[in-house]
Every structure is written in C-alpha cells, then in structure tokens.
C-alpha cells in the first residue's frame, strides 16, 4: 500500500509538471484516434458513448467510479490564421464521478478547472476570434492572453418503467481572461446548457433515444481606460475587411442562444455481433452582439447558424476481428446581417460527406487497429460587405494506425500514428493554407479490478504543403479511475 501511495503521489507531482489539454477519450487518442473499430468500455456503439444521451447512462455504466485526470498541452506555430497566437498552453484538472443511486437511477458529475495562456495574439481581444461568426473586435497591438475558470456538469438518468428512460443534464462553465498589453481587455465567458432526454427500449436490440438541449453562451469584453489615461482604440469588424474604429470605453456582449435536437436509433439485430447506430442532429444558434457605453446599449450585429447532420455508425464483431463503419452527411449554413436592417452582410454554406472504415484485430497479446477517413465538402463563403467570394471543394483524408501490447495481465503499452491532409477550408473567414499533419502518440496503463492509472503523450507536427510554415505541439495526460464497490 505505501508503494501505491508513493506511485500516486509521484504521478500527482508529474501531473503538475505536465502542461496538458483534453482527454476524455484517452485510450482512443493513445491508439492514434482509431475510434470506429475499438471495442472499449468507454467507446461502445450506444446512445451514451456516441450520442451523449443521459437517458441511457445506466445501461452504459454498470459500476460506480471516481475518475481524476490532469491534462495539458503546448504548441508553437507559424502555421496560423490572422488572429491565432504564436504559442498556446492549456492545463486542466478534472474530477468525474459516477454513482448508481438505485436499480433505476444513476448520476454522473464532473468538476473541472482550466487554465489557458495564449502568447503573441495579434490584435485580437476576444478569447476565440476565429469562432464561426464573422465578427471580430481588435486593438492595434499583439499581446498575451490568460484565461482560467471552473466548469460543472451533471447528468441524471431515471428509469420509471423498464422500457422508458428519462434523463437530464446541466452544464455551467465560467472563465475570466485578461490581455496583459494595451488595451488590457477583460473577458468573462459564461456557458450554460440544459438538457432533457428520453429513451425507449422496444427490446434489448432496438432502442430509440432523443434529447433536446438549450444553451446560452455569453462572452463579455470589458474595455476600460487604464491608469495612464490612454484612450481605448479598437476596431469592430462586421466582416472580413470592413470595420469601424472606436475610441473610448465600452463593454461588448456576445449572446449566443442555441438549441440542439438529437434523435437516434440503436439497433443490434444479432445480439452484440452486429451493432448499428443511426443519429440525426439539428442545431440552431443565434448570436446578438451588443455594445454598452454607460447605460446605453446598442446592438452591433446579428448572426444565425443552423446545422443538420445524419450519421450512421456500424460495428461488426467477427470473433477476433472488428470492422467499424461511419457514413455521415452534414449540411451547415450561417449568415449575418446588419444589426437593425434586413441587409445581408455575410453568408456561408457547407455540404459535407464523410466516410470512415476501421479494422481491429486482437492477437494474443497485441491489438492492432487501422482506420481511414475521407471527407469532402462543398463550401461557399460570400462576404458581401467586403466584396469577397470563395467557393470550392475541401477534401480531407486521414490514415490512422494503432497498436496495444499487453505486457502482463494488468500493464499495457499503446502506440498510435495519424497522417492527415487538409485542403484550405473555404468556409472559414480566415483559413489555414493547404497542410499535412502527422501525429504520434504513446500511452501506458495499469488496469486493475479496483483502479486504473494511465499516462499519455502525443506529439503533433503540421506543415504547409510549401513547407513555409509549421506547427509543433504536444499533449500529455495522467488519468486515474477508482471503481467503487
């Protein structure tokens, strides 16, 4: 026991040293992002793992547990868009818990705290200037931006009848940020989501599920004159090239209200050897931007987006071999208009198709995985205000390989490799040039009946096709899960 405490203590120390990012899909990432054919407790082709429907939680998780992970990442890049930072690092600490409350009730919760630092962020004074909306607020200098804040998420599942499941979920995140250079904007990011869900089990083989999520995201930017009396001098872009220069103090509010509807069918016609999941998603988002000076509030922009997606996942388990399949269609469009008049400023659309095929084979001590993904989209971007028009096909493909070696009954080594090729993304107002990405990953794990400990590291290298710019970054993570009796 003392040796275990020593191991855990040293891992905790290591966790603080590592700068890491996000990692709920730790094993998938360690195996080179091979998701389609990987049979894993946290990667089952069902309504919870693939769709996040809380009304299926109890059927997915049959043991209570506590999970902790710390994750961090760092990158520096010259392959970047106009407002991207040259360097960025993230560090997050996450506690998850899952508890079976009764034979028909379960609850899942997560608390996290996240630190983010962006370096040499050119002009941008928003946390996410390359979000889907075309609106950007800038100042005249580059600077460093730090944000941090907590997040809480709770999911609940209740099964009033054997066939009917009811679920609910709440997410709340808040973070504050500060750019350390003039104009020293302070940002406050708040995100709230509420979800209600249903599942109906016609039979163990056929399950219908649906959920509706409402969300409200508010980003507030406070621009206040600093002690040295210097005026706040900003540019409000309503499109890619057209802006208004403003001198003076004000607060900007981005209010994004959205809802998301999901309907999914899970069908296992041959018990567990053939698994099918058909998912339909629709989401609808509206963003209104207002600027407040003193007590006066003026609307500065309006943006709307909607998205339809139909996805089929299949998994065919043939003794030691598993074949995974994904076919998806996505239709996305958005537009922005003058804040008070019916005049269209920008308009975009994207029709995309995705096809993925994965294979895994379990040898005695070795699990091998390969996966290929093809993505093609027809993209159109019209910026009427800036007289810009872009249209074209964006092709993306990736090849993935992964392997897991069982050293002994409880210890495993995982390796992964990815190769991705990207065309320019014409849908994005500011897009990256044609580039290729290579991704190498390694993971170590100890899996016992009562607990799991995992270590993970990956390294990503991106290059523009002309090799004129590049991206280098890494992620690291430590993860523990303790099963409750």
């Amino acid at each position: 026991m003392p040796s275990k405490i020593k191991i855990i203590t040293s891992l905790l120390v290591l966790m603080f040293v590592l700068n890491a990012g996000f990692a709920s899909d730790f094993r998938i990432n360690a195996l080179g992002n091979n998701r389609l054919a990987l049979v894993d407790e946290d990667n089952q082709l069902n309504l919870y793992n693939f769709v996040n429907n809380p009304a299926y939680l109890l059927f997915d998780e049959n043991r209570s547990w506590l999970k902790f992970y710390a994750a961090g990442n760092y990158y520096n890049t010259s392959l970047k868009r106009q407002y991207d930072p040259e360097k960025e690092q993230n560090l997050s600490f996450n506690f998850h818990g899952y508890k079976i409350l009764a034979h028909n009730q379960a609850i899942w919760g997560r608390i996290k705290y996240h630190f983010n630092s962006k370096y040499h962020l050119m002009n941008a004074i928003e946390e996410n200037p390359h979000a889907d909306d075309p609106l950007v607020l800038t100042d005249s200098l580059s600077g460093n931006f730090n944000t941090d804040g907590p997040g809480v998420e709770v999911l609940y599942h209740y099964q009033p009848f054997s066939k009917l499941g009811i679920g609910a979920g709440i997410t709340y995140e808040i973070s504050t940020g500060l750019k350390k250079q003039y104009t020293r904007p302070r940002t406050i990011h708040r995100n709230f989501e509420g979800k209600i869900a249903l599942t109906y089990r016609f039979s163990p083989e056929l399950v219908f599920g649906s959920f509706l999520t409402g969300s409200r995201l508010q980003d507030q930017i406070e621009l206040v004159k600093s002690w040295d009396g210097k005026d706040i001098f900003t540019r409000r872009y309503r499109s890619e090239l057209v802006y208004r220069e403003i001198v003076g103090e004000f607060d900007r509010y981005y209010n994004l209200n959205g809802w998301h509807f999901n309907f999914a069918v899970q069908y296992y016609p041959m018990k567990t050897t053939v698994q099918n999941l058909l998912v339909f998603d629709y989401s609808d988002n509206t963003q209104e931007t207002t600027d407040q000076t003193g007590v006066n509030r003026n609307m500065d922009s309006y943006w709307y987006q909607n998205l339809y997606q139909l996805t089929y996942y299949g998994r065919y388990i043939l003794n030691r071999m598993v074949v995974g399949l994904k076919v998806a269609y996505l239709k996305q469009k958005d537009w922005s208009k003058h804040p008070t008049l019916p005049i269209l400023i920008t308009e975009r659309s994207r029709d995309s198709y995705e096809f993925g095929l994965g294979l895994s084979y379990q040898f005695n001590r070795i699990l091998l995985l390969v996966e290929g993904d093809l993505y093609r989209s027809n993209e159109m971007f019209s910026d009427y205000q800036s007289s810009l028009q872009r249209e074209g096909y964006n092709n993306y493909y990736s090849g993935k390989m992964g392997g897991e070696i069982k050293i002994d009954p409880i210890h495993y080594i995982m390796l992964g490799y990815n190769y991705n090729y990207f065309n320019p993304d014409y849908y994005s107002p500011q897009f990256l040039p044609e580039n290729k990405t290579q991704y190498f990953s390694v993971g170590l794990s100890e899996r016992r009946a009562r607990y799991e400990i995992e270590l993970y590291f990956d390294y990503t290298l991106k290059n523009s096709i002309e090799n004129t710019s590049s991206f280098k970054g890494w992620n690291a993570l430590i993860y523990t899960r303790l099963y409750m009796l």
Binding site: S239, V242, F261, Y304, P342, L344, I345, Q385
Partner: protein, 398 residues
C-alpha cells in the same frame, strides 16, 4: 412495427412542411397506442421548433445604389442667368461613411449627375466640391442614410465660398506621451497660402462651443458660438503684424519650452504669438507678442480639447458677447477646422466652414498632430485636406 412506420411517415411530413392540422389528422388515424401518440407529440413539438428559423434578408450589403445630381445656384457657371440651376460636370463627390472606415469618391458626368453603385448600407456624409478658381470653391454637404436597394436619387445645390488667404494649417492638442496628464504644449499653426502679404492685426482665434443641444442649429445660425476667443494685437485692417506668402505662424497656448516639464513635449519658446488671458495670472513670455482674451466670462488660458473640438480663425471685424460666449458672424470667419477622434461624435462646426473633420484615431497623450497634406491647401473639407502625423511640426511642414 406498423405504428413505427406511421410515426416515421408523419415525421417525414412534418419535416417536409406539411400543415400541422393535416399531420394531426394523420396521427389520429394511424397511431393507436398512447405511448406512440406521446412520442409523436414530442416529435411534433420539436419539428415545429424547426419552423422558427429567422428569415434571411434578400438584400445584400455592398450592393446599394445612389444617384446624385449637382447644380450651381450661385451663378458662377452661368452668369447670364444666375437664377437658373446649372448642372456641374466633373464635380467631386465624397461619401464618408459614419458607420465604417470607408470613403467613396466619384465625379459627376457632363450632365452633372453621378451614379454611385456598390456602396455599403450606412449613414453617409456627402460632400460636393468644385473648384472654380484658386480663390473660390463651390460646395454642398448633407447627411443621408442609404439603406435599401431601390434607386436613391438626390439633388445637391452648391454655394460658393471664398478661400481665405490665411488658413489654419496645423492643430496640435493631444499632449505628449506622459502619465501626469500634461497637455499644455498645445499650439495652432497658421499659413499664408496666397501670393501676397497678409496681416494678422485684430484677427480672432477661438474654440467653438459645442454641445448636443446646439448641434441641430449650427447649420441654421449665421454665427458661430465660441467658448474661448483670443484676439491678435492691433486692429482689424491694421498692418503691424504681417504674415508673408508661404510663412507659418505658430500661436502657442504658452510660449514656453515644455520639454523642460515633460520629455518629448514641444518647445514653444520661439512661438510667434502666445495666448494670454489678462483676466488671470496666466504665463506670459515677455519676448512673444500676445493674443488677448475677449470673452469676459472666461478667466482661463486658451485651451482646446485634446482629441475632439473645433477651431476658427475670424478677421475680427465683428463679434459680440452673448452670455458666457462670444458669437462671431460666419461671414467674417476665414477658416474653421473640426477634429475628432472617432466618427461616432456629432458634427460641431457648420459645413459652410468645414464639411469634414480631421484627427480620427488620435488618442490622448499620444504626441500626434493634424496638419494639412499640402501647406495651405483648403477645399473646405478637413477630411481630405488634413492628415494625422506622428509628431507635431511647429513652424514647418511634415
């Protein structure tokens, strides 16, 4: 299973936009199970949400249209019949957006008409200029909202202004870079753009009074109301204080070497004139002649706003005290320049004196200045006559 097929069918009809009452009939006919009916109600509610998308506007920005006909009513272009409206060909039209940092320039055709397309939805300041001679310009100005695609047609009638031989050439007011709110190195630079000697005797330099309340009247009044007014020595029409062709004259708030107080501030020790308020214990450099305060309600030195204000130069032949202010007839004003740091503030000087403004982007304590692009060149539109420069240039051009 049959019911599932019916449910799927009804969902399909709902997505396809079939009217709700028809879907409800279908539901009543085919769906018998209460559970299925409840599910169909839920799905129906969700599909109704799909119908709540906002309407995408059909008019696109950057595609709006304006036609302007420009006429002379002064008789300059048709001296035989000065009552007739004469079209002005090749007049320059400037559209200055109030909402974006965008300016569009066009010229009228032989019929005096300019058709302007491809403009953004915005409120614009529209300025018309047509130079008749080196001393006279025909101008017109108005503000207009252009917000729809139907062809907007407008007429602009010009009036003439005589170009002053002495003009305001530079205004430095924002203060040097500093953290102690020091801005006392302000100065105004004058320039003789004519080919003859002019005399500054008795001329008046002012700071224009402006507030939101009086702004609607500035185009109606025949006078300009001023907060500060300082008069050159001598009497109007006198010949004691000459300004030679091409000469710069620097009028300082205080003719003092301000760099001794704040590094980087302007040395105005050798200014040509300084403003001294005889009603207070103002700094007075004995080697520099003074402009004296003529507003008896003011006991402070000549100070102008750091980044947003207006200044006029008048010949000094007529003015009167009006309460706390000095009123000066427009007809006696030689030049006026408006400056502001942002487009969002309202106009404070009549367009008869300055149809534009300068100084956009200058912030407090930035050490920047505003100067005519070409010394003395005055088209009555500071937006196009002036530019922002990174450092003040007292007594010379940048």
């Amino acid at each position: 299973m049959n019911e599932m097929i019916h449910l799927a069918g009804i969902s399909f009809f709902a997505l396809a936009g079939v009217p709700v009452h028809y879907i409800l009939k279908l539901r009543a006919k085919y769906l018998k199970s209460a559970m299925i009916k409840q599910m169909s109600s839920l799905l129906l509610s969700v599909f109704l949400l799909f119908q709540c998308q906002p309407n995408k506007p059909s008019i696109t920005d950057g595609n709006l249209f304006l036609a302007i006909a420009v006429f002379d009513t002064t008789g300059w272009l048709n001296s035989q019949d000065s009552t007739r409206m004469t079209p002005i060909p090749a007049a320059k039209i400037t559209l200055d957006s109030r909402d974006y940092e965008k300016q569009f320039q066009f010229f009228t055709d032989s019929m005096g008409v300019a058709v302007i397309s491809g403009i953004l939805a915005s409120e614009y300041g529209i300025f018309v200029e047509y130079q008749i001679s080196t001393a006279t310009v025909l101008i017109a100005a108005k503000s207009k909202k252009i917000f729809n695609t139907s062809s907007e047609v407008d007429t602009m009638l010009t009036h003439s202004i005589a170009m002053s031989p002495v003009v305001i050439n530079e205004i430095y007011s924002c203060g040097p870079p500093n953290n102690v709110f020091y801005f006392f190195d302000q100065y105004i630079e004058l320039y003789n753009q004519s080919g003859e000697i002019q005399y500054l005797d008795g001329m008046i330099l002012t700071r224009v009074r402006t507030s939101v309340e009086i702004e609607p009247f500035i185009e109606i009044w025949d006078f300009v109301e001023n907060t500060y007014a300082f008069q050159f020595p001598g009497s109007p029409g006198g010949k004691e204080y000459p300004i030679y062709p091409g000469q710069y004259v620097v009028v300082a708030g205080d003719a003092y070497d301000h760099s001794q107080s704040i590094p980087g501030a302007v040395n105005l020790e050798n200014a040509d004139f300084e403003c001294v308020n005889q009603l207070s214990s103002d700094y007075d450099n004995p080697d520099v002649p003074n402009l004296s305060n003529i507003n008896t309600a003011r006991t402070t030195d000549y100070l102008i706003s750091l980044v947003t204000d207006a200044v006029i130069l008048a010949d000094g032949t007529s003015y009167w005290q009006n309460g706390n202010y000095i009123d000066i007839p427009v007809s006696t004003i030689l030049d006026g320049v408006e400056y502001k740091k942002t487009t969002s503030t309202s106009k404070r000087l009549t367009r008869r004196l300055d149809s534009g403004y300068t100084g956009l982007g200058i912030s407090n304590y930035s050490g920047r200045s505003r100067e005519r692009i070409t010394p003395g060149k005055d088209t009555n539109n500071s937006t196009v006559d002036f530019e922002v420069i990174d450092a003040p240039t007292p007594g010379y051009s940048h």
